[in-house]
């Protein structure tokens, strides 16, 4: 049976080879100035982890991922609840599609759409001014990170909504009916009866939102390419590659790989794989 999996296995090994390649060169000093890589032990890692811009970008990526996990789950719980209690299936499906469409859009297009929505003169600020509200310099150094965080909520919350909603729809209606007989209100039913039944959605949404957040590149790159206040770790990696600091780029890659694998492996083995074999 292995023969069936072997074509995919070859590509999997190709991927592993690239990851190993990253780790190998992360222990060298390879760059434009040292075209012949020499083994330098942990020096490149020390260099990367003492570079304030790189450290800030790593912290920012993790912060963004953590914030997106929190906000995405909150939006997922609220919106899936609101959709679940709709009586009209068509309305529910249309609304769900509207919450998900940003995921089907190219992120670079999303970046450009929001670039101009955040424009101080022509964008949302125009509306703010018209309503007598103070205008916000959305993409200025002070707010750029938070503005991009708002876009990620818009772009990725739909992911959490579909998992919460799918699991809510699987809760047997007898459970809800029993609570109704006991006189519980809708809100109580949702909090006390339904949400405890959809804990799986919390695990799935958290893992996926974290991993999607870790690869966020086009959004800040398209909106504020050179603004160091919104640089994610993978953008920092890209600039190191462009400026031919190859060893540094692979060291950042090494760190990001370790973080991603720490989430993917338990998720795959104790989540996905177990759910598959149980069914």
């Amino acid at each position: 049976m292995l023969i069936f999996s072997s074509p995919a296995l070859i590509f999997g090994i190709f991927l592993l080879y690239m990851l190993a390649w990253d780790y190998y060169f992360s222990f060298t000093n390879w760059s434009l100035f040292n075209p012949i890589p020499q083994f330098v032990g942990l020096q490149t890692y020390i260099k990367v982890l003492t570079n304030p811009i790189t450290v800030a970008s790593l912290e920012r990526s993790i912060l963004l991922a953590a914030l997106l996990v929190a906000a995405g789950n909150a939006m997922g719980i609220v919106l899936a609840g609101l959709l679940f209690f709709l009586r009209n299936n068509t309305q529910r499906n249309v609304y769900l599609s509207i919450l998900i469409y940003p995921l089907a859009m190219p992120m670079i297009a999303n970046a450009f759409i929001w670039l101009w929505l955040y424009n101080v003169e022509y964008g949302l600020d125009y509306l703010f001014k018209a309503m007598g509200l103070p205008s916000v310099n959305w993409l200025g150094p002070q707010y750029a990170f938070w503005s991009i965080f708002l876009v990620t909520i818009w772009a990725y919350s739909g992911l959490a909504v579909i998992f919460y909603l799918a699991m809510l729809m699987n809760v047997p209606s007898s459970v809800i009916d029993a609570a109704k007989v006991d006189g519980a209100g809708t809100f109580t039913i949702y909090l006390r009866i339904l949400l405890p039944n959809v804990r799986g959605a919390l695990i799935i949404s958290s893992a996926l939102l974290f991993l999607f957040a870790l690869r966020i590149f086009s959004l800040p790159y398209g909106m504020v390419a050179l603004n160091p206040f919104v640089e994610t770790a993978v953008i920092n990696l890209y600039w190191d590659y462009i400026s031919e600091h190859f060893a540094e780029a692979t060291a950042i890659a090494g760190i990001v790989i370790a973080i991603a694998i720490a989430v993917v492996v338990p998720y795959a083995l104790y989540g996905l794989k177990r759910w598959i074999t149980q069914g």
Binding site: S5, P106, W116, G222, Y238, V264
Partner: protein, 273 residues
């Protein structure tokens, strides 16, 4: 009392949905503004309907759409087929090796593409595939064959085992079972996998960013960024470019969105029920 509650419920949802639609609305109305309107009206207000703006931008970007089709369509076909084949292998192989392969597939699906930037470029240069369609296709396959295998594993797991056991009892070979029994039974899952990979590969920006140098080879996502990036152009052009970059995945989403949702659900093994 009940009525007041359901009114609030509907109003709250309607507001959230309206907010979610603002970017789509902005993209559409502003793609059809004149240059003058783009300098005098805000992004949120419509102003006239002028096709010439988007037509001009489209003419400059058609090549990107063609490049995307050249690269993405083979990737969708190969990733879905080889992914399904691999998933069938995992399904039959009850073994520690199956766990290992499944983990590998999950890593390929979820790891940030950006970590492969340097090795990907250096390996493609060494293979003579840097800055070619072939190199782009190969690079996409490295990430999307695992995606295909992961999604198909989930979809195959919900097929009743009896159907497959029965075919074996009748003496069918593995490959016959795969082609004649499994693929037809898993067809909605196959379509979902293909649609998911199509949308994700079409929208991918980073892989061509590092692997393509010649402007003429740029897929649409990269072509748009090079064409309209930053505040250097009028916003009607920016929005028209975004619309052209988004049009193929958006149309597919509108027509076949339920398959895309199934694909997303499968990322969390939620294809059941």
């Amino acid at each position: 009392m009940v009525n007041a509650k359901s009114v609030i419920h509907q109003v709250v949802l309607a507001i959230i949905i309206a907010v979610w639609l603002i970017p789509l609305y902005a993209m559409v109305i502003n793609s059809f503004k004149s240059n003058l309107a783009a300098q005098t009206t805000p992004v949120l207000l419509p102003s006239g309907f002028l096709a010439s703006n988007i037509v001009t931008v489209a003419q400059g970007l058609v090549y990107g759409l063609i490049n995307s089709a050249i690269v993405v369509l083979p990737v969708v076909a190969i990733s879905t087929f080889l992914g399904a084949l691999a998933a069938f292998g995992f399904y039959r192989l009850r073994h520690w090796l199956s766990d290992f392969l499944f983990t590998l597939v999950a890593i390929g699906t979820f790891i940030p593409y950006e970590v492969a930037a340097v090795p990907l470029v250096k390996i493609m240069v060494a293979l003579g595939l840097f800055n070619t369609y072939g190199g782009l296709i190969l690079a996409y396959l490295i990430f999307f064959i695992p995606t295909g295998a992961l999604l198909m594993s989930i979809f195959i797991s919900v097929i009743p085992k009896d159907y497959i056991e029965m075919a074996y009892i009748d003496g069918a070979s593995d490959f016959t079972v795969f082609l004649r029994i499994l693929l037809p039974l898993a067809m909605p899952g196959v379509i979902a996998t293909a649609i998911y990979i199509l949308i994700m590969a079409w929208n991918n920006f980073f892989i061509p960013l590092v692997l393509v140098e010649s402007p003429s080879l740029r897929p649409i996502a990269l072509a748009v960024q090079k064409y309209i990036g930053g505040y250097g152009v009028l916003y009607n052009e920016t929005y028209a470019g975004s619309l052209i970059a988004a049009i193929v995945p958006l149309v597919i989403f509108v027509l076949l969105g339920r398959y895309f949702v199934r694909g997303l659900l499968a990322l969390g093994a939620g294809a059941k029920g």
